[in-house]
């Protein structure tokens, strides 16, 4: 059980049976008045964000959240299949819950799956993934256009800007949080 005075950025609380992430937190207390705990909350199921103010007497349950390491198996239509490599238990997560992370998912990748009351509600990718370039315009030597980047397509279909020397077949390290190119990796 949490009370309002436990509130801080990053805390996860349960309200009306749903888990919420405290995105922002401000303590306010006008002189002689009662304390206000002003928060910005994100519903961890729907992603909706909103502001809400609590009072000292408000209490919250701790949401039953658990993170498990699982392996990405394959996608079938809008369904993404993952497996717990310890007990071979398989789960399915919908496309809408994967969001932009679909750009970085490759077979057999290890990810963290977040469960709420044993129901999978989110995926956390490693911060960096290595993806192969499947399409790139050749680098024209002596190109004087002055551009220092060009678009390439990687195996997941993601298109991103990279330095001009990247070629088809190269493996790139990409930051999954920003979607940006970090470096070329040697196999």
């Amino acid at each position: 059980m949490f009370t309002a005075s436990d509130l801080r950025k990053g805390l996860k609380i349960q309200i009306d049976g749903e888990p919420y992430f405290v995105v922002d937190f401000q303590f306010a207390k006008p002189g002689k008045g009662q304390a206000l705990y002003r928060t910005k909350l994100r519903n961890m199921l729907t992603g909706n964000q909103f502001e809400r103010t609590f009072r000292s007497n408000d209490k919250f349950d701790k949401p039953a959240l658990e993170e498990r390491t699982m392996q990405y198996l394959y996608a079938q239509g809008e369904e993404f299949h993952f497996m717990d490599t310890k007990n071979y238990e398989q789960i399915v997560i919908g496309r809408d819950q994967i969001g932009d992370d679909v750009n970085f998912l490759i077979d057999n990748m290890e990810v963290l799956i977040l469960f709420f009351n044993d129901r999978p509600i989110g995926v956390t990718l490693p911060n960096f993934v290595n993806l192969s370039v499947i399409r790139a315009d050749p680098w024209a030597k002596g190109d004087t256009s002055g551009s220092d980047s060009k678009p390439v397509t990687v195996e997941t279909g993601l298109v991103l800007q990279v330095p001009p020397f990247i070629e088809e077949g190269d493996k790139l390290q990409i930051d999954t949080r920003t979607g940006q190119y970090i470096t070329r990796v040697k196999e």
Partner: protein, 295 residues
Amino acid sequence: MLSPERLKQRAAIIRAVRCFFFDRDFLEVETPVRLPAVAPEAHIEPERSGARFLRASPELEMKRLLAAGSSRIFQICRCFRQKERGSLHLPEFTMLEWYRSEADYRDLMDDCRDLLRYLGKGWRGPEKPGCDVDAEWEKLTVAEAFRRHGGMSPEEALEQGIFEEILCRDIEPRLGIAQPTILYDYPAELGSLARLKPDDPQTAERFELYVNGVELANGFSELNDPQEQRHRFEQERTKIVVMGRDPGPMPEKFLQDLAIMPPAAGIALGLDRLIMLLCNAATIDEVVAFTPEEL
């Protein structure tokens, strides 16, 4: 932890504050930190220290000094309040309090103006082009502020339990922007130690000083009727009990001395916040040697 440079700024401001009061013939006093009884206030949770309480404010003891004949006193001291932590709050902070006998809250408003102008060289607000302490100060009643910015009266807001929300969200950010603001004349129930206006017993002679949207000081004409004070303390104690806390013993010696306290006015100013504003700091953390988290 604070840089030597910021520590020097802090020390220079505190020295200047002392000079201001010395120049005006105020006596610096020290009163005890550990107290057997504190003023019961519904929204202040004092820290315990063995069988005693750490002071949340030196108010009661300073008024007892007035009762004993002192007439202009000030104190710079550490105060303690449980569960108060935010960008403007520390559970242990430095308070500046001063008291004048034969004075009322209007005299304290003048003191505030003189103090800020005295310290005012180099005064700048964070982000904002600057709050001009030398300009004429804005004076706004609580009723007018609620009507103008909250769309209701303070009494309606209290009844709906949203007084603090409206104050924090809709009013405070608009106060003390171009020049400092004195927000004054609070509903009687929000000033448990304040005197009520002789011609309007629904209103307490209480004010707050705002600079750059930050509440800097809270002052009032002191209630000096022991029966009325006991009655208000009882009301606060009831609220504390309803909230599930122990109100502690009644501060009997204070009530005794109140009977011989002359008419007076007193004010508490958050010194860390004042330093924050003078140093152009965005949070209280940037002006104290250590935050609780750094210990």
